[in-house]
């Protein structure tokens, strides 16, 4: 019997929601790490019981948590609770993210553009996104603020920056968006272990074809009125990118404004906003079995971060964009003013595939029929930051 496990990060803790394949009755576990901002929790595709979590706090900084039993118990990698530390220097520093400024990396990079146009030092603030390897449960990538990508190959105990991203040339021109200068999206290409995509607010999308050594901007076709040159190579506020793993060259993007697609691994983008009521938004995701079926949640505007007209509507396109239908069955259609953040939608791989999203109002909605109808799993969690789902067999 198949099961699903939904991993929910909120502003005040993590929650784990489990159900059988019918996805009608749910068990709710949590809060885990109560009181902490849980930016992201994600499981290893190789070992579903291996979960990684980003636990952060304005007071206490960054913590990385790991579970090896599907979320029943957790520990900081390298420092299990209750274990007496060995004498000598620490063996693991799971929350130590040090930017590479070494000459060995070729291009030491210490500053980026600040809001006032001056150069500002790179300062680590938090981990926004954790992306476990497709092949090794001990390898995991972290997208951080200020924007950089780190990799751990020892289960999260130690982290090393893939500094070719910041050092590729445009780094000093990157500047923060309203939410900070965060690297929030990491997509691994299952057909090519050397290829990876990332996105940064507000720098844009980037791709590596050599396992993270070198990177290039992939923003051609993006047009952003809020930067001096709307067609610039970088500076675009990409909110999220999604990919169906069976068709890795095709990418879908929710930009600050505009929904976009690329059919050539990001080399060129074209707009597919079509008949959406507004093309501002944060989330975007792709159907598990129909690679031309995509989902977004339109948000009113960059100045009003809630759904338009008081109606919570997921929009689905079955044509790869441009033609969109509103999905409303089971979702509030009056007096609703929530937001859905960029990592707060996920899709399982059952048939029919399940779609999940969480709101700033603390609701987590699930659809067991690819979006045709929705039910809340929980209604009153803290504001939801991220939603991931694992399909367990």
């Amino acid at each position: 019997m198949s099961k699903v496990r939904v991993l929910v990060g909120t502003r005040k803790g993590a929650f784990i929601l489990t159900s059988d394949g019918k996805r009608e009755k749910w068990d709710v576990s949590g809060p885990h790490f109560a009181g902490w901002e849980m930016y992201h929790i994600k499981g290893s595709p190789v070992d579903p019981n291996r979960l990684y979590a980003s636990q952060t706090s304005g007071w206490f900084g960054q913590i990385i948590q790991r579970s090896d039993d599907g979320g029943k118990t957790w520990h900081q990698p390298g420092t299990p609770p209750g274990e007496t530390p060995a004498p000598g220097p620490p063996k693991a520093e799971s929350n130590k993210f040090v930017y590479d400024t070494s000459d060995a990396s070729g291009k030491p990079l210490t500053t980026h553009q600040w809001y006032d146009g001056t150069q500002h030092p790179w300062e680590f603030k938090r981990v926004w996104h954790l992306e476990p390897s497709l092949t090794d449960p001990d390898t995991v990538y972290a997208g951080v603020e200020d924007a950089a990508i780190f990799r751990s190959t020892d289960g999260g105990q130690n982290w090393k920056e893939l500094s070719g991203l910041r050092g590729h040339g445009t780094g000093p021109k990157w500047q923060p968006g309203a939410g900070g200068m965060c690297l929030h999206t990491i997509i691994l290409d299952p057909s090519d272990p050397q290829r990876m995509y990332i996105a940064i607010s507000a720098a844009g999308a980037f791709r590596t074809d050599d396992g993270g050594k070198s990177w290039k901007p992939i923003n051609r076709g993006l047009r952003s009125q809020y930067i001096p040159d709307p067609n610039a190579e970088i500076g675009h506020c990409v909110h999220h990118i999604a990919m169906n793993p069976t068709r890795p060259g095709v990418l879908f993007m929710q930009k600050h404004w505009d929904v976009m697609r690329s059919d050539d691994a990001g080399d060129n983008w074209k707009e597919i906003s079509g008949n959406l009521p507004t093309d501002f938004g944060f989330v975007i995701d792709v159907h598990a079995h129909e690679p031309e079926t995509i989902y977004v949640v339109p948000i009113k505007s960059d100045g009003e971060h809630f759904v338009p007209e008081g109606k919570l509507r997921v929009y689905r396109s079955r044509t790869g964009g441009n033609e969109w239908e509103a999905l409303t069955k089971g979702l509030p259609q009056k007096d609703c003013y929530v937001n859905v953040l960029r990592d707060a939608m996920a899709i399982d791989s059952l048939d029919k595939c399940g779609v999940y999203f969480g709101t700033s109002g603390g609701q987590v909605y699930a659809s067991a029929d690819a979006g045709d109808s929705w039910n809340p799993i929980v209604r009153d969690l803290p504001a939801v930051l991220s939603v991931e789902v694992q399909t367990l067999v």
Binding site: F60, G61, G78, T79, P81, P85, N95, K96, F97
Partner: protein
């Protein structure tokens, strides 16, 4: 130099991380300073590394405060000696989360 047993009171979230109660006891050799107290604390509870001082700069995290003997010692140099009452264990060294945020 004499050894000391000092008492440290942690904020709630750090107690949870370290799996301890409100107060922990630390044995120190040598001068009792902010730095030596925090070094001993992190050696005994490595899960707290980076939560009180920045992992890289070793600076106190901005929203934390160090109190002792009814004084705010947060801005004292990290190698300044703490009051004798801390070194003797008569008074605890308090790590306090600033009242901020939601």
């Amino acid at each position: 130099m004499a050894s000391s047993t000092i008492r440290v009171i942690l904020p709630q979230h750090l107690r949870t991380l370290a799996g301890v109660g409100a107060e922990v006891a630390l044995n120190l050799e040598g001068w009792v300073t902010q730095r030596s107290v925090l070094d001993a604390l992190e050696a005994q509870y490595p899960m707290l590394r980076g939560t009180i001082r920045d992992q890289v700069t070793q600076q106190r995290r901005p929203f934390l405060r160090f109190f002792a003997c009814e004084e705010d010692l947060s801005h004292e140099p990290p190698d300044a000696r703490l009051p004798d009452a801390i070194a003797s264990g008569a008074e605890p060294f308090l790590i306090i989360g600033a009242i901020a945020g939601g």
